[in-house]
Structures are given as structure tokens and as C-alpha cells.
Amino acid sequence: MLLHPAVIALLLTSLLSSILLLYSAYYGYLVIQQWDLSSGSELQLSLERRTYLISTILTYLFVFQILSLFLYLFTADSLHTLFVGAMCAAGTLHVNGYGYPALLLKIFNVLAAGVWLIVNFVDNRAYDYPLVQKKYVLLLVISPFILAETVMLAQYFLHLEPNIITSCCGSLFSEGAQSISSNLVSLPARIMGPALYLSMAASIGSGLGFYRTGKGGYLFSLLAAGAFVVAIPAVISFVSPYIYELPGHHCPFCILQREYGYVGYPLYAGLLGGVVAGLGVGALMPFRKRESLALLIPSVQKRLTLVSMLGYLVFLAIVTYCLAASNLVQ
């Protein structure tokens, strides 16, 4: 294990988050099993009071969860100088078999945490706890993934050995290799470019429609998720060579480095903001007609739609600027 400050911070906070999550999940289970608003029992009143504490703990925990994705990427990138062969976070994450699974879990957990925060935000603004059981069911679904992430993260950092020779991003994200990353690289740029712009346009267009009419929330949410799914491989196969001005360089991590103006951070932040807000709109759709939420949800969804469109517009603006400013001619 490397005693790097960021590694220690990530490990300790991840461990602390997991402990708090287990505590919250236990009360979440009690809420699912025992919640009865019509009862004035001691247990019910105690659960009502406890739910404020749990909600506060989880809000902080999930906000950290979202920020920790970027800290994880930053840490992986800053550690690359310690490993022979590594040129960026891609190589550092490849030092052992836990780095990439931890990253994938982190991305999934960021999306799930974002949706949970949105549901919790709405539930806390109604007078009759309308989503309390649903948000704790969601919590119990998310919890194993966050615990798995902690285990994976611990395994990754505990098995980091500085004498290991790893691969550089040039070989990991090249067309010749037999891996998922090379499959992503191999996607044809002339298809992924238009697909990226079309999927973003569809998402933003449906967002505009939903913002104006309040109809088509599910479609907007689906298209926002679809745009995210298209955007990740598009960044690898189509956008990144323009940023690096090297036709064969497809690394999604080098753009997090200083040489490229840390452009990857706002790029990915815009993308994540867009998809989380878009998913949030869909997650709230089934509850629009609840009496205590009938006025609240449409206004929250409007704001989320704006956030989603803004996130994707930031992403598109950065991508378009990188393409326009690039000296690469393909």
C-alpha cells in the first residue's frame, strides 16, 4: 500500500461512509418494515424523528460520494509517476485488477446517489413523508454497491505496489488490444461524432419540450440516459484524438492532466450533472399526482431539466471548442 495523503483520505472516508451507510440502512429497513403514519406508537414517532438524522447523514455521505469520484480520478492520475509504464490514471488503475472495477462502481454509485438525493430532496419538502419508504428501498438497493465499492477500493489501494510494471494508456486504449477499452476505441469516429451530437440534441430538445409543456418526462429521462451512454464511448473514440492532436491517442484520462488544461474535469462534470438531473426527472414522474407533491414535483422537475440541459450544453460547448481549436485533421 502507498501512504499517499489522497489514498489515506479516500480509504478512510470510504470506510466511514460504509459504516454510516450500514447504520442508515438498518433504520431504512425498519422504516420499510414498520412505518405507519396513522399510528401514534412510540416506535413510529421515534422513526419519524430518526428519519431526519438519517436523511442528513445520507445527504452528506452521497455528496461526498459524488465528489470522491473526481478525487479518485485525481489520485490515480497523480500517482502515475510511481509506476513504471504508467502515463496517466489509465496506467495507475491498471496496476492491479481492482482499479477499473472500483471506477465503474464509483460511476454507478454517483448516478444512484444523485437520484437518491433528488428523491430525498422532494420527500423532505412534503408534509406527509410521501416517498419515505421508497427512498429507503432505493437506499437498500444502492447500499451493496457502495459497500462493494469500499471493498474494491480497499483492495485496489492495499495491493498497490510501486515496483509493478503497468501498461500505458497508449496500449490500453489502442485498436489492436482485445479488451472493452479497445472495442470502444475501435468505434468509428465518423459514426460516433454525429451520434454524440444527435443524442445530445435529442436530449436537450426533449428537455425543452418537457420544460415548456410538462409532458414527456419519461422520454426526456430516457434520452438523457441515452446521451450519457453514447457520450462516454464518443469521448474515447471521437473527441479525445482532437484534444491530444494525435490520431491514435484515445485515452479518456489524459484529459484530466495539466497539459490539457484539466479539461476532463468540467467535461465529465457536465456529463454527470446532465445525466443525474435527467434521471432524477424520470425518478419523480410516478409521484407527480400525489396530493402533497402535486405542486412541488413539477417545479423541481423543471429545475432539474434546466440543470440537465445546462450540463449537456457545457459538455457540448467544451467538446465543440476542443474540436474547433484542434490542429488535428482527420
Partner: protein, 225 residues
């Protein structure tokens, strides 16, 4: 109407100093009436008032105000109900020293966001109602006992509450000031407000204008009527 169903309040539950302040209280407070809670010290009168006024939550049981269940409400809604529906008069007046009489009266209305000019105007009208206009700009520590009590009453009315809750309001007043206070209480009741008083002062709970007396002992309602 205030309705309490099987309300219990336990302090320090599960600890050696556990104290059952209220034990299974069922009670209905009629609107527009003056209800006096009486009983010896430690019988649970003040605890019951704090629960009815949404200043604390019961350990178990439910409380309804005009059909709206209050004990399950999240704090943001409870604060609103407390501010809009209840006016509180405390035993010790609890005026804030260093502030003027006018500022003390205006204080509970600041969170409502009412324009300062109209709020000040209303506060001055209330001070006038209680003959406190000359003391508007005096600091509250300079007020006499009766003036402080009237200031506390004015403060409780600033948000135009439906229910006035008073805890031992005459405990520190002489007979003359107690009578003056009770005149004011009757006047507030004639305006249609519900009044709930906790007092073991016979001058209060034996007064003929009291609509209902609730006798309490050991955290239970012994007699209501």
C-alpha cells in the same frame, strides 16, 4: 379544536433518571373557549402546554389541530403552524433584555417577511391596546412587572394567533395585576381566540369565566369538564 390521543411524554427514556411527565393523556380543547389546566407542581401541565403548542413532540400519541395531525409533521411545517396558530405567554415573560418593548413585540413576526413598516405599525397598535405606547422605545429591563406582562401578551398577539397558550401567567403578579391580566384574557376570548392556561392559582382556575378546567396529577388527566 385541539385533540390529544393517548399522549405520553417521557424524558430521559431508558436512563436511570427516566421521568414520565405525561402518561396516556386524552383530551379535547374546544375552540373559542378558555380552558384552565390545573394540578400540583410536576403534574405535567407545562409539558402538556409545550406539546399542544408544538414546542416539543410527544414520545407517543398524536395531536390534531383543527383536523390537521401535528406530531408527524416535519419541522419546517411545524414551525409554520407554531408561528401562525399559537401565541405563547410564559411564566417569566421571557422578554429579551437589551431590546426595546417595541422590538420585543415585533420579534416573532420577523421570519414571516412582512414589510417592516406595516409590522411596526401593527406592533404599535398592540402596544397602544395595552397602554404601553409611552414605553415603546424603553428597554424591557426598565419595565414594571405589569408592563412586562402586558408586553409579553402583546408579543403573543403579533402573529394574530387562533390559540393563546399561557403558562402560570399570574405566578409573579400581585392580585391587582392578576385581575388586570384576566381582564385582558377575557377580552382576547371575546375576540374569538381559544385560550389555554396552566395555573394553580385559584384566582385563575376558579374564575367563573373559565369554560373548562382540566385537573392533572402525576401526568394524567384526573378530571376534565
Amino acid at each position: 379544536m385541539l385533540r390529544l390521543s393517548n399522549v405520553r411524554k417521557i424524558f430521559n427514556a431508558g436512563r436511570p433518571n427516566e421521568w414520565v411527565a405525561l402518561d396516556g393523556v386524552n383530551l379535547v380543547i374546544e375552540p373559542g373557549k378558555i380552558t384552565a389546566l390545573t394540578g400540583p407542581s410536576g403534574s405535567g401541565k407545562t409539558t402538556l402546554l409545550t406539546l399542544m403548542g408544538c414546542m416539543a413532540r410527544p414520545t407517543s400519541g398524536r395531536i390534531w389541530l383543527d383536523g390537521q395531525e401535528m406530531t408527524s409533521l416535519p419541522e419546517r411545517f411545524l414551525t409554520q403552524i407554531r408561528r401562525e396558530s399559537f401565541g405563547f405567554i410564559f411564566q417569566q415573560c421571557n422578554l429579551i433584555k437589551g431590546l426595546t418593548t417595541l422590538d420585543n413585540v415585533m420579534l416573532p413576526a420577523y421570519p414571516t417577511g412582512e414589510p417592516f413598516k406595516s409590522l411596526r405599525q401593527r406592533a404599535l397598535q398592540l402596544l397602544d391596546l395595552f397602554s404601553l405606547t409611552p414605553k415603546a422605545n424603553a428597554k424591557v429591563e426598565w419595565l414594571s412587572g405589569g408592563e412586562a406582562q402586558r408586553t409579553a401578551i402583546a408579543r403573543s398577539l403579533i402573529n394574530d394567533p387562533r390559540v393563546i397558550i399561557a403558562d402560570e401567567p399570574t405566578a409573579h403578579l400581585d392580585t391587582h395585576l392578576s385581575n388586570e391580566f384576566m381582564e385582558i384574557v377575557q377580552q382576547l376570548n371575546r375576540e374569538g381566540r381559544t385560550i389555554i392556561l396552566a395555573s394553580h392559582d385559584p384566582l385563575v382556575h376558579q374564575a367563573e369565566w373559565i369554560s373548562a378546567v382540566v385537573m392533572m396529577r402525576d401526568g394524567r388527566v384526573e378530571e376534565a369538564g
